[in-house]
């Protein structure tokens, strides 16, 4: 279970409030505006810590608890700061039977984080996806926007090396 991650520094600075105000003002008075606002906010800050959620809630007149409900409901949103690079391991049927599980175990072990986690040096975040539509290349690992095919646990170190 993912509980509100502690933010390392005070994220809600004057500048970030201004950025959020700008985002919110573009959606003023529109129905169902919370989703796009959260989306843009996450693009801006990389994640949605509780302070940001609270600020958005107050400015939009939505209960902060409801914002939390939405953020934790959608897979896309995260309350943990993301790393500079996101590793997505495919666990769709084809990748799964061809060893996707082993890859994820190795990554968890090497990086010392769980699925959804971020390394302390913020280099990598680890995620799981259900089929990238590239079953012929299974097992597949995606790092940022690059697809790496025919993955094996032993190939991982080399694959990740260029991502600093």
């Amino acid at each position: 279970m993912e509980i509100a991650a502690k933010t390392e520094e005070n994220i809600l600075t004057k500048e970030s409030m201004e950025i959020l105000d700008k985002i919110i003002s573009r959606y003023k008075g529109k129905r169902g505006a919370l989703m796009p606002v959260l989306q843009e906010a996450q693009e801006e800050f990389g994640y949605l810590p509780i302070e940001i959620q609270n600020y958005i809630a107050t400015q939009m007149g939505i209960p902060a608890s409801e914002v939390y409900g939405v953020v934790t409901f959608y897979h896309f949103f995260t309350m943990v700061p993301k790393g500079r690079h996101t590793i997505k391991v495919c666990l769709g049927t084809a990748c799964y039977v061809r060893g996707g599980k082993k890859i994820i175990e190795k990554l968890k072990n090497d990086l010392g984080i769980d699925i959804g986690g971020t390394t302390p040096d913020r280099r990598f975040s680890l995620d799981v996806v259900r089929c990238l539509g590239a079953c012929g290349l299974a097992p597949v690992v995606m790092v940022d926007n690059d697809i790496h095919q025919g993955m094996k646990p032993s190939k991982l170190d080399k694959t990740l090396e260029p991502y600093k």
Binding site: M1, A64, S65, E66, Y68, G69, T72, F73
Partner: protein
Amino acid sequence: MTVELTIDGKKITTSEDKTILEAARENGIYIPTLCYHSKLSPIGSCRLCVVEIEGVEHPMASCTTPVAPNIVVTTKSEKLDKIRRDALKLMLVNHPLDCPICDAGGECDLQNMVFQFGIDQVEYKANKVEREEIPFSTPLIRHWPNRCILCGRCVWACREITGNNVLEIAEKGYDSHIEAIYPEKCLSCGECLSVCPVGALTDNLSPIKARKWQAKRTLTTCNHCSVGCQLEINTFEDKLINITTKESEGTNNGSLCVKGRFGHDYIHSEERLKQALIRKREDLIPTDIDEAISFAAKKIGEIKEKYGSDAFAGVGSVHLSNEENYIFQRFVRSVIGTNNIDSLASLIFEPLSEALIPVLGMGLMTNPLNDLLLSDVAIVIGTDLDGNHQIVANKLRWAAYHNDLKPVIVDPREISLSKGFANVWMRPKPSTDTVWINGLIREIISRGLEDKDFIKKHTKGFESLKKFVEQFTPEKVEEITGIDQKDLKDAAQLFGEAKAGAIIFGSGIIGQNDSVSAIRSLGHLALITGNLGKRGGGLYPILPRCNTQGAWDMGLNPLYFPGYQPVTDDGAIKRFKKLWGLPIKNEKGLSLVDIFLKASEGKIKAMIIMGENPLVTFPDSSLVKKAIENLEFLVVIDSFLTETAELADIVIPGVTFAEKDGTFTSCERRIQRVRAGLKPLGESMADWEIIAKISEMMGHPMNFSTPKDIFDEIAKVTPCYGNITYEQLDEKGGAWCYLGKTPRLFEDGFPGGKANFLTDDIKLPQKKENKEFPISLTVGGNFYNYLIGSKTKRAKGLALVYPDNFVLINDEDADKKGIKDGDMVVIKTENGELSLPARVNSNIIPGVAHLKISFNDIDVGKLFKADKAIVPYKIVNASIEKA
């Protein structure tokens, strides 16, 4: 607009804003539900209420689908049955069958549904999810996450009824669970607990459990604040198990606050008095109750003989029943023969009456509290509703949520209703209310928003008011009160335009300096906007204790018999003399303040204090102490050995509200029944029985065998309680006193024809700098602990939530004195000093500090001085230094 539709072959006409479920229920057609709750907006999560609609491919949830013209709905079919059974079975995959140890067993909606559908096995082999146990938002409620069926009722209740948005369904799929996201906002009211259809939320207070069918349920009236909520005391083998409510009963509509739901365990406190006590030398020694009563009777007789009737005084109680207060004043007036009788109700009603009777003819709450649901603007002044009268706050939130009510909050402190909820929040300096209220009146008139027809038809003296308020320009108001001009103007525009505007005010106004001027100005404000005798309008003085209204009505007053018949009126004297069979004194008695002043001078020799603890509750504890020390004889009747009782010569054990019958009158003038759910503890007796016995021992039997007999006499002699019978109270769930045709006052005009604008006596605050005592210290009650005490921890559950007292100081003020959050400080006033920890933040404006009065171990009363009839019991000049 009405709509016609067919449900199960039955032609139905209903209004277009109804859902299919509502239309079916209105017509006696049963549709099973689990997440639906009549107090909440439809949730639509459980899928049990699915129905088929002709021409629609998939079954629809009837709780969320609105009716439409000419649709044909089927509520029972094989297909629907299968969907419902499957929905239930899927819930049972995760829901543990720990019914034998579940509090909800026997009153669990899921259990009932599974039973009703006859589901005896679940074929789904899905993995059971073990949800982690995480702390809930209040220690008073235990959360059993695995029992939760995620219906969402608790989340909805927290959002729509209490407006606090503490709870939410977090995560998704298998991981979804109820979580207290913002526990610091939780008021511990237990609304979530009360709507939970299963045992996922349970009462974490009572160690005693019993099944629904074993418990005895007694419907009664809460004895905490004056709202008069109806609740059920559930008992098993003469022990309280828990408190529940019925949605159909009372103005609370099934809701309660933390005190109502969790604040009754003091009934079984170890410290309850089971025996009478009598003073032998220095100590109070247990004695037989009959002996104590006969000793008290003998001693009262002796003192009367020796010093005369007026050497005697009686103090009644704002939390005992009408019957007890009535019999008490009858005893004091007839058997003892003095009008020296009063109660704490006069601290409230003296200023209310003096301010409003000359203007309106009555100084009472004008409208029922449910009228607030119809208001479109409400001004709330000097009361932290969530802290003391949460049910009233809930009504405002309901109206804001459903009816677009715009709240204007006036309080120097930040309270839960001010930030985020209020449209306008004004923070005046203490004791400047008269100025901003008149400024508001001026703004409304200058914008032409006054109700000209109403003023012409129903009032006198408007021109003089208009002239009077001319001086209160927004600039001047800002200078004196500190209220931003824009805020004042916004408030004036809102209230002036309101179709129905309500004015709610509490002790912050009633207990301040110059309270009469401020309250009278509020009367004027209601008049110029035509908000009296109107649905959703009205003046709402919020009274502190459960029977403050009743104590005043019952003649606990040196000037009036029951029902405000003057004690100097010959006709009234004649009537009461005939009824009571004893001579009655034709002379005003001493007020509460005077009783204590005279006693401290040794001029009052004996006192009976019934159900009151003035040493803690009266604003000047030094005076009370001196008064009691100078008495020759003091009888205290109470269910606990209170600080006052410790000084008595005789202490007779009374009972709590749960052990007696009678009536309370709520702040909205509603007389409601109190019913005994438990037997009196040990030798204790209902207070009315004790008084009747003392009277009998003194040779004057009263011939009342039940509280009903007393009520019948009250109804006979008290005009404002006339034509009401005890049976009616049972049948109709209460009755309104002071009535014409409706529960609303002034609907048929004002007594004496017209209301008056009276500006001559309005006093303005004097600007005085007090170098020695620069801080305005305001005090307030707090429902977590009022009179239940943290030292004694008689209500153990409440003490968990709000354990200790502190003084709230503005951060700038604290900085100047080098005080930090958590430091011990010394508060000094002209009358006394005390020390306690400080809480430092910006929730209060500079120059003001705030403190709770209700902790028995912190004697706030000694900071105050009472030397006149109207005591400013809420505010005193003080200095605060680091200890």
